[in-house]
């Protein structure tokens, strides 16, 4: 059984993966958003807390699994890849070899986010936004149509009692797609939050991540 959810958007067939990654098969493009690498390091530095320092490893491991499963020719990290610039510099050095391995043989694009607005010591393109065919990839949604963005970490309340409170989800309507956060140490914003319900049209859907990608009407 196909665990993913396929949908048409601006003339392109896109796939919402159970992992929270977005796959554009025709362009062999894999997009992930909001990895927040270095969150643990930042919390140690800023709040003096020492949460388990395994989130970089876990996030990259899951990204690697997606790359191995799909062999993309292009990977887009849709911003907030690093939890802040200092974490970015520290992590980039720490996992340089791993990133190089993941990047080899494919185009790799870093989109800037509000947490990582400047250039980092990483190879590959570093852009504010990227336009491919009818789609524009940027971190935070704007009124523009055809946009693929992240930033909000949407999560949806589950329609079945007792399956857990909420799961990270994709949101899409005729005009935009919003990706869930892919990073391990990320929280979420309920789809009922005004920030999200204002952005999405009345026929918007949420696609739950988890064991299977399950589409449902966006909970408001």
């Amino acid at each position: 059984m196909d665990a993913s959810h396929h949908f048409e958007f601006q003339g392109c067939t896109l796939t919402a993966r159970p992992s929270g990654a977005l796959w554009w098969a025709k362009a062999r493009t894999l997009t992930v958003s909001d990895l927040h690498l270095g969150k643990a390091e930042r919390m140690a530095r800023r709040a003096g807390l020492q949460i388990p320092p395994y989130e970089v490893q876990d996030t990259l491991q899951r990204l690697q699994s997606e790359i191995e499963a799909l062999s993309p020719t292009r990977v887009i990290c849709l911003g907030d890849t690093f939890d802040d610039m200092e974490a970015g510099r520290a992590v980039a050095i720490q996992v340089q070899d791993w990133l190089t391995r993941l990047q080899s043989g494919r185009e790799w694009v870093w989109i800037e986010g509000n947490h990582d607005p400047g250039p980092l010591p990483l190879s590959s393109a570093h852009l504010a936004e990227l336009t491919l065919a009818t789609l524009v990839f940027r971190h935070i949604a704007t009124p523009e149509t055809g946009e693929i963005s992240g930033h909000y970490h949407p999560k949806a309340k589950l329609p079945v009692k007792g399956a857990g409170a909420a799961r990270p989800c994709f949101l899409y309507d005729e005009r935009r797609v919003i990706l869930p956060a892919f990073g391990t140490y990320t929280g979420g914003l309920r789809t009922s939050d005004p920030a999200l319900s204002r952005l999405m049209g009345p026929r918007a859907r949420a696609v739950l991540t988890g064991p299977r990608a399950l589409p449902m009407p966006m909970p408001r």
Binding site: I51, A163, G164, Y185, L189, D193, R205, G210, M216, P217
Partner: protein, 754 residues
């Protein structure tokens, strides 16, 4: 009061400077009450003695002054004391301290709060070597264990037994209407409770949870045609509200007070002549303690009435009455003390200044609960505090504690503020304050759980402090409400503790069920049990009865283990995970003190291999890792040990996508660092506290192969109340995913989106 006589004698000449006696009680209300009762006689005798209390309710300015100029007698709680030991000037604050009195020590002996208190005492003893400790209690089943807990290890501790006084006058309340099949409210008994209130001067009406107290009070008020003055008192009400009720009580203005454990202990209300316990007492010791609230006069018997909230509780109340008459107190021995509290102790010590490793280890071992702790365990905790203690050494640059000039100290002294803000071991759910709307003065009413507040929409009504209020808005983490009349309110959920029926009481209940008839039980209950015996059978000691039956499209199995709520919950978790393995598609379960009810998509036909204790124990680790109880336990362990502090200065609570749940940290550790200290503590804690695994093992070993599986075509009399139990636990597995897929698909087509 007697506990203070040596103090008053030693202070009478006015020659003592600074703190002399520290009085510690588990309840804020008790500290305030003792202050009132002490200051009267001291003023009358004209003694030059200053008495003050210091709790979380004490205003900041007074606490500052108390630090600068401590009173002779300070009345406080374990948390406030731990905070005092964290100050750099702790030695000066405690200078001259001669005596420590720990009141109601049995209530502390069984909890982390007590462990924290004993660690703070160890500190004080280091600062004041001549300190004498006194513990007081009216209900201790094992005095020598309490003595070991209290005394400086390995010093001996004298045990003095007081005259127990006359036997209490205690019975079940007779009501016109029989109790309902399920539920915990006891509302059916309100006419009888009102009649009793009229016949007595002052009645305390105890409930096991805050929510139940609120509902009962509301209904009592509606039925209160004579307008008897009644009040409500529980821990989630604002300080102002509680104080008002306490003062009215002392002044003899109230005829009845609906209350919870917040009035359990020692408060000398004097004029209370009747105690009513609504709901089964769960534990004989607590019942005895509550009965003792009535007639605090020497040599007068206490008078108490029990109100079972449902049919099964009738049986439990009967068993509890027998136990009280037989003087059979219960209590389960406690294992080694928890290490998360020790981690907090190490951080508290670091707040007070640099410390020496060996000296601190020695100090910790003088605390009774930690007497047997090994150096390796201690070093693990220290390493956790300093570096996070991860297999991956990631925080060399951001250590919490640094080793410098032969001593450990905070890397960043500003961290002390964080640590102090998070002292304590009581884990409440996240609570939000409730206030009257600003246009109506903004008076504080109390607190509700955050999840409840999140479920409210403006216009919803709920009960708090016995009044109906209407939800207006959530503003800066304050729930704003206005007064509302006449509508049916919802009930605020409070983090009330759920007690498990003790082993001893459970055994008594099981024995009672074996009688051929039950002349001591009300007829409705006797008939109910007889019907159960007729259509199925009654659970027997030494055997496990399992009933299975279909009901509303689901397959049910009810296991009568009589192991107490926590253990029955564990049984539910273990068994459903085994059922998941066997593809029996369990959907969820619910636990009560006497049984676990499981439901799913497939019937349970061969339980014996699923219940094999060695297989259960072997699968335990894997099972423990994934389940909700472990995550809940981890949440509290991580908070107490200082990994995920509850409060941070200047914390912004908006921007929710920036915060993530501690469940994610748990999952990450389970995957990458399963032997981390906090995971080990979580396992140990889950096993004995929430999970009560020992009671499951004991039960399964006891029954061995003696399982009685009965297939029935419908719900049985004994299982029926279980269908109405609250606190259902979902099983996250194949069955749930199946239903979720069906439901999302249904929603899509209903919305015309496919």
């Amino acid at each position: 009061m007697a506990g203070f006589l040596p103090t008053l004698a030693e202070l009478a000449d006015g020659g003592h400077e600074g703190l002399h006696t520290l009085y510690i009680s588990p309840l804020k209300a008790l500290a305030a009450d003792i202050r009132r009762n002490l200051t009267g006689p001291i003023a009358e005798m004209g003694l030059p003695i200053r008495v003050e209390d210091r709790t979380g309710d004490t205003p900041h300015s007074r606490r500052q002054r108390q630090r600068a100029d401590p009173p002779h007698i300070l009345l406080t709680t374990p948390e406030s004391l731990a905070l005092l030991t964290s100050y750099e000037d702790a030695a000066r604050i405690f200078k001259g301290l001669r005596r420590v009195i720990v009141d109601e020590i049995h209530a502390l002996e069984e909890s982390r709060r007590g462990d924290q208190l004993m660690l703070a005492q160890a500190r004080q003893q280091t600062l004041c070597p001549d300190l004498r400790r006194v513990g007081l209690s009216a209900t201790v089943e094992n005095p020598s264990a309490v003595a070991r807990f209290l005394a400086r290890h390995p010093d001996p501790c004298a045990i003095i037994h007081a005259d127990p006084g006359p036997a209490p006058d205690i019975a079940m309340l007779k009501t016109a209407e029989p109790p309902p099949w399920s539920g915990g409210g006891g509302a059916y008994a309100i006419p009888a409770v009102l009649a009793q209130t009229r016949q007595h001067r002052t009645t305390l009406i105890f409930h096991n949870t805050r929510a139940q107290a609120e509902i009962f009070f509301h209904k009592l008020w509606l039925a209160n045609e004579d307008a008897l003055p009644v009040g409500i008192h529980h821990g989630a009400l604002s300080r102002e509200q509680r104080e008002r009720v306490e003062q009215a009580m002392v002044a003899g203005q109230l005829r009845a007070i609906v209350c919870t454990g917040s009035l359990d202990l020692g408060i000398d209300w004097g004029d209370v002549d009747l105690v009513i316990q609504v709901g089964a007492p769960k534990n004989v010791k607590r019942l005895v303690q509550r009965i003792g609230r009535a007639n605090h006069r020497y040599n007068a018997p206490s008078k108490a009435l029990l109100v079972p909230a449902n049919r099964f509780e009738v049986v439990e109340c009967r068993a509890a009455l027998d136990a009280v008459r037989a003087g059979d107190l219960d209590g389960d021995p406690r294992g080694s003390a928890p290490l998360d509290v020790l981690c907090q102790k190490i951080l508290i010590t670091a707040c007070a200044g640099p410390f020496d490793t060996a000296a601190l280890y020695h100090e910790v071992r003088t605390a009774g609960p930690y007497a047997a702790i090994s150096r390796a365990q201690f070093d693990d905790c220290l390493d956790f505090c300093a570096t996070g203690g991860y297999a991956l050494r990631a925080y060399d640059k951001w250590k919490r504690l640094l080793f410098k000039d032969g001593k450990w100290q905070l890397r960043d002294p500003r961290a002390a503020r964080n640590i102090r803000m998070n002292i304590g071991t009581i884990q409440d759910a996240d609570l939000l304050k409730v206030r009257m709307h600003r246009s109506r003065g903004g008076a504080p009413l109390g607190e509700v759980e955050e999840s409840f507040a999140a479920s409210l929409t403006p216009g919803d009504t709920f009960l708090i402090g016995g009044q109906i209020v209407r939800f207006e808005a959530l503003r800066e983490l304050v729930v704003e409400v206005s007064r509302d009349r006449g509508r049916t309110p919802r009930v605020a959920t409070f983090s009330g503790t759920k007690f498990a029926t003790s082993t001893q009481l459970s055994a008594r209940i099981l024995r009672l069920l074996q009688q051929s008839e039950w002349p001591d039980l009300p007829r409705h209950t006797a008939e109910w049990l007889a019907l159960q015996r007729k259509v199925s059978r009654l659970p027997r000691p030494g055997r496990l009865l399992i009933e299975t039956f279909p009901h509303e499209g689901r397959e049910y199995a009810c296991l009568y283990g009589f192991a107490g709520r926590n253990a029955q919950q564990t049984l539910g978790l273990l068994l459903t995970s085994r059922m998941e393995e066997e593809r029996l598609a369990p959907l969820g379960f619910v636990a009560a003190d006497y049984a676990t009810l499981i439901w799913g998509l497939e019937p349970l036909t061969d339980p014996a291999p699923l219940l094999d204790p060695t297989r259960l124990a072997a699968g335990l680790d894997g099972w423990l890792q994934g389940n909700a109880v472990m995550k809940r336990t981890f949440r509290s362990v991580a908070t107490i040990a200082g990994l995920t502090p509850r409060n941070l200065p200047g914390q912004r609570k908006s921007g929710r996508q920036a915060t993530f749940s501690s469940d994610i940290l748990y999952d990450t550790l389970a995957k990458y660092d399963p032997d981390h200290l906090l995971m080990r503590i979580t396992r140990a804690e889950a096993m004995r506290g929430l999970v009560d695994f020992a009671r499951i093992e004991e039960m399964l070993t006891r029954i061995g192969p003696d399982i009685d599986l009965l297939r029935l075509d419908r719900v049985t009399p004994l299982a029926a109340p279980m269908l109405l139990e609250v606190g259902r636990v979902p099983v996250e597995g194949q069955a749930r995913e199946r239903l979720l897929a069906e439901e999302t698909e249904r929603l899509m087509s209903a919305a015309g989106l496919t």
